[in-house]
């Protein structure tokens, strides 16, 4: 237990000690999106009846920040440790596979949730956003950040170079988060892309999260939560097995 707690604490300190870069910068980026998109699109779009586009945008941006930062935390931490070689400090001690996995996972979730909360609080200063069912929002944020944190562990273990991780981030994570209904309701999309969105787990994370604010969404929040939670659990199992196998860590 002490081993897990220490590794979690170390992973927490790792991003907390550089919070300008790991927390404030992504909050500011989200606010800039809010400013630009709200300004250009406000008059054109009303996604849900009675919900202003600016308000619609806030939960999407907050969740996008949660997801991207959860992924960034575990993936860059593992990758940097492998590159610099200081990964031996966590490979030499008697940490169990479960402790190892949970520490990286929970630290990633913590970073995602802290940044997401930051985006939400900062946006509140400019926009009035209702909070209809906070429980739904929280459940989706937790399961969603867990999914991305686990994915980050896989990407971090898999990548041997900064380049490979950047490719993972820019060609997979970024498009999936951008094309998941952060900026629009998928009902506004042509049928092909609507169908396509239903295969993107991140769409359900954002949609279910948004339900927590407006009490309405593109699909049922039960469906979203079921899909997000089961994806999270399945990916966690896969990640755990990968760690246990020693793949690329104890080669």
């Amino acid at each position: 237990m002490t081993g897990f707690y220490t590794l979690f604490y170390k992973e927490w300190l790792r991003f907390w000690k550089v919070k300008v870069q790991t927390i404030l910068a992504p909050v500011l980026t989200a606010l800039l999106y809010l400013l630009v998109f709200a300004h250009t699109l406000r008059s054109h779009a009303e996604v849900y009846p009675g919900v202003e586009y600016t308000a619609f945008l806030v939960p999407g941006l907050a969740m996008m920040a949660v997801l991207q930062n959860a992924f960034a935390n575990s993936s860059s931490s593992l990758m940097q440790s492998k590159m610099t070689g200081n990964i031996v400090f966590v490979l030499l001690p008697p940490l169990s596979h479960r402790e190892f996995f949970l520490a990286y996972l929970l630290a990633a979730m913590a970073r995602g949730l802290v940044v997401g909360a930051g985006v939400f609080v900062a946006a509140m200063a400019f926009v009035d956003v209702p909070l209809a069912n906070p429980g739904w929002a929280l459940a989706h944020a937790i399961a969603g950040s867990g999914f991305m944190g686990a994915l980050g562990v896989i990407a971090g273990i898999q990548s041997d170079k900064v380049d490979q991780l950047a490719a993972f981030q820019n060609f997979i994570i970024l498009p999936l988060t951008f094309l998941s209904g952060v900026f629009y309701s998928i009902h506004s999309l042509p049928p092909f892309w609507q169908t396509f969105s239903h295969f993107n787990p991140i769409f359900y994370m954002i949609d279910g999260f948004r339900y927590g604010f407006f009490g309405q969404a593109d699909v049922s929040p039960w469906l979203s939560l079921t899909i997000v939670t089961s994806s999270f659990l399945a990916l966690s199992l896969l990640t755990f097995l990968l760690i246990r196998s020693g793949y690329k860590l104890r080669h």
Binding site: G3, L7, T84, V88, F89, L92, P93, P94
Partner: protein
């Protein structure tokens, strides 16, 4: 008594390239054991397998009786490793790095021992300095400290003195000798053979992933190559009968001769006297580990049928 380290027919291949080919050795508790060999002989691979950083392709490895794969938590708790690379975590100070490392081993209130380690490694003035700001020698000390936070019975040092200045090297050896006297088993790899000769009670020599010698340091020194004689004579020439023994003409005109054993010293003197040559200066020397090492490596030149 359970051996500190048991390596049984351990082999390791990296994508078809064999790094270790069935290595077996045992290190008893309390030993100061040396692992020598040229670069690429498999020393670091063997250490990585013992430490659980690498998984062997075949064979079994135990630390204090615990299998490093099946019972990895107990095995790792018994082992402290100082890695060869100068690695550090740039986010932390020296004290934080040691506290965190201690936490990984599940030890909470460890501050008294951590302060002791800091003091013994002469890190007191740097205890609250960020790791990034330390010199290479200082980082090396912290690595030693990190390997000791959990008071492991077995300590493995992979070339701990590579690129370290004389003063630190001596301080480091004093400290490690003390640990050995206190009952810790020490396994050491080094390229400095005089260090190994002075410190290690027993030595294994590796070449191309095979053990080519495994014996006490004393036996290794005795077993091979008799002795050396350094001579200065007048007139400054040697009888033809001795020419085959000369290995080197030293600066200042001295001859260096290799003899099979000490009995030959007598014959040497007799030959010189018969030739009317007067001995000015004479020194009989034991071969050092470096010579033994070179001999063994040359003899083992055809391991696996490869040159």
């Amino acid at each position: 008594m359970t051996p500190a380290i048991q390596v049984d027919r351990v082999s390791k291949s990296f994508g078809g390239v064999q790094a270790l080919g069935g290595v077996s050795l045992e290190v008893q508790q309390g030993e100061f054991f040396g692992l020598l060999g040229p670069n690429g002989a498999g020393k670091t691979t063997l250490i990585s397998i013992i430490a659980g950083l690498t998984r062997a392709t075949g064979g079994t490895t135990r630390v204090m009786g615990h299998d490093v794969v099946e019972d990895y938590r107990a095995a790792r708790r018994a082992l402290g490793v100082v890695p060869q690379e100068l690695v550090f975590d740039p986010f932390f100070t020296v004290r934080e790095a040691l506290q965190i490392q201690s936490g990984y081993y599940g030890i909470r209130d460890n501050d008294a021992w951590i302060e002791e380690v800091i003091e013994h490694l002469d890190l007191t003035s740097k205890a609250d300095t960020n790791m990034r700001a330390l010199s290479g020698g200082m980082k090396r000390r912290v690595l030693v400290g990190q390997a000791l936070v959990h008071k492991p019975p077995v300590i493995v040092l992979d070339e701990p003195t590579a690129g370290v200045d004389v003063e630190l090297r001596q301080a480091l050896w004093r400290f490690i000798r003390r640990l050995n006297r206190d009952g810790h088993t020490i396994v050491l790899t080094t390229h400095y053979l005089e260090e190994a000769e002075a410190l290690c009670g027993r030595i294994a020599m590796l070449k191309q992933g095979q053990i080519v010698a495994l014996d006490t340091t004393r036996n290794l020194l005795n077993r091979h190559s008799g002795c050396y004689v350094v001579l200065r004579v007048e007139p400054d020439r040697l009888p033809d009968a001795l020419a085959a023994h000369v290995t080197e003409r030293l600066e200042g005109g001295a001859y260096r001769l290799a003899l099979k054993n000490y009995d030959e010293v007598e014959n040497l003197m007799a030959t010189l006297r018969a030739a009317g040559i007067k001995v000015h200066e004479m020194e009989v020397m034991q071969p050092d580990l470096e010579e033994v090492f070179v001999q063994i490596m040359q003899k083992a030149g055809t391991v696996n049928g490869k040159p």
